[in-house]
Amino acid sequence: MPREVDISNIERNFILQALEQDVRVDGRRLDQFRDLDLEFGLEYGTTTLRLGKTRVHVQISAEVTKPLEERKFEGIFTIVTELSPIASPAYEVGRFTEQEVILSRLLEKAIRRSNALDTESLCIIAGAKCWSIRADVHVLDSDGGLIDASCIAIVAALRHFRRPDVSVDGENVTIYTMAERVPVPLSMMHNPVCITFSFYHDGETVLLDATRSEEQVREAEMVLTVNDFELCQVAKLGGNAIDALVLLKCTSTALAKGKEINGFVAKKLAEDATKRDIGGLIAELRAENER
């Protein structure tokens, strides 16, 4: 069975000793993210995010289905994360690794269960027809920070995505093609950002955005999800105990970082919108305009 290469003792000690002096192997500050880059595809909802050497591709798609029996007034939103051998030969097709389960559950908790996407706005006819939005997360290169990268990429892709416009006339539903009517953006309630903190030396050293090798030597990790205003989610899955004061400090760091990242995503989205807005016609074609 191909396995992920375990970090050698020499490298482990080197990273830990450097961290004792507040030095990271790649020269970053302790609370510095790697270079973030966001690319949008030609399609709406196609996003590629690079966080250092980590690369995540997200594709959003929409289709009309029947809503769930117990939730007649809501649309469906699913996040699919499947790690493939493209990122590392250790990921096998059809076999869930622990990392994969943690990744998908955390994303589910941070984005879906925090109601980032307003599922009620996806309802077309209560109990009969609704939109089903699906986010496929493809990890192309994994060098640590998968949770942070995937979360930013999904939220950016959701904000980039446009679903076809629909009109309801009694029982009849008309779905307009992209050529007939300008597609409509999804209604987002808030923009969650996951920030992973890694702890070393009994919580004395706290790192943001650890690389794969830094992840391998950490004593504990904690994932905080924040939006522009508040903390949405805390996940601390095992590892050493963390002092309450450290946690509070992490929260304020996360809030500041979250704002910074959301600002970056908004800037990239605006750049993409101007690129698409050939001749300044988009404002005229808006679905909200009077016909």
Binding site: H57, S61, I86, A87, S88
Partner: protein, 259 residues
């Protein structure tokens, strides 16, 4: 008939995989990222081949999970690669190829977001791109091969016109679709057809695909092709698929040499 717009190929687009490539079909069509791990241990002993390399291909659609159609394409790509890869160089190991579709061409006249690639629809359009991406990935990973292979998609319009690498709208109008793959020594290694066509149509499509893949190769007497870059830009063959692969490799090698 050469390709009107050549496809794009870039080698080594990923960092973790042993070899990787990004292939973009002409006219903003399919974009496939290939990641190749070679040679790796075979996960199940029963798959191990004592005298050859076990080839595993995973094709992952851009949305949804792979089903029957993807499995079928994986099988076709695997079998084509088996004919060109020198498996006995690395016996008892695995050549693992993951093909990730990252972009599809959408049909704006259809309602709904990203369309195409449904289980009921044709698989031929993606097959050519998948095979080309797989071969490029193998080239980058240093897989030892007898020859390079390339595939082309040819559509035949109802009026009998041949379209090499048809766009999504053109594909819909085509009476039949064909995929042919040839090795660099002009052997046919894959042929798949769909739709209604006559034997003459098929032969014509084969010729069209052959020139799209191989071009009019200026082979030297010893069978080698000059790689100094000058005769590619000035030559008449210009933009056939093998030239694209050659250029991608040159770009990779020269970039590597400067570092």
């Amino acid at each position: 008939m050469a390709l009107t717009e050549p496809p794009k190929a870039i080698l080594h687009t990923l960092l973790k995989a042993d070899g990787s490539a990004t292939y973009t079909a002409p006219k903003n069509g399919y974009q496939v990222v290939a990641g190749v791990n070679y040679p790796v241990e075979v996960p199940y002993r029963s798959d191990e081949i004592p005298e050859s390399t076990f080839i595993e291909v995973n094709l992952r659609p851009h949305n949804g999970v792979g089903m029957v159609k993807e499995r079928h394409m994986e099988e076709l790509v695997t079998r084509t690669l088996q004919t060109i890869v020198l498996g006995d160089e690395t016996p008892r190991t695995m050549l693992q190829i993951t093909l990730q579709v990252v972009n599809v061409e959408s049909d704006e006249s259809l309602p709904g977001g990203v369309k195409g690639g449904g289980q009921g629809e044709t698989y031929l359009d993606l097959l050519a791109s998948a095979l080309n991406a797989a071969v490029l990935g193998c080239v980058d990973a240093g897989v030892q091969m007898k020859a390079i292979a390339g595939a082309a998609l040819v559509g035949i319009c109802p009026d009998g016109r041949m379209v090499v690498g048809p766009s999504v709208v053109q594909r819909k109008k085509c009476a039949s679709l064909h995929v042919f793959a040839f090795t660099s020594d002009s052997q046919t290694v894959l042929m798949e057809s769909e739709g209604k066509f006559t034997m003459d149509d098929w032969k014509q499509a084969e010729r069209a695909a052959r020139s799209a893949v191989l071009g009019s190769v200026n082979k030297q007497d010893n069978g080698d092709v000059t790689m100094n870059g000058t005769n590619i830009t000035s030559g008449s063959s210009g933009n056939c698929l093998l030239d694209v692969i050659r250029q991608a490799l040159e770009a990779r090698v020269i970039k590597g040499g400067n570092r």
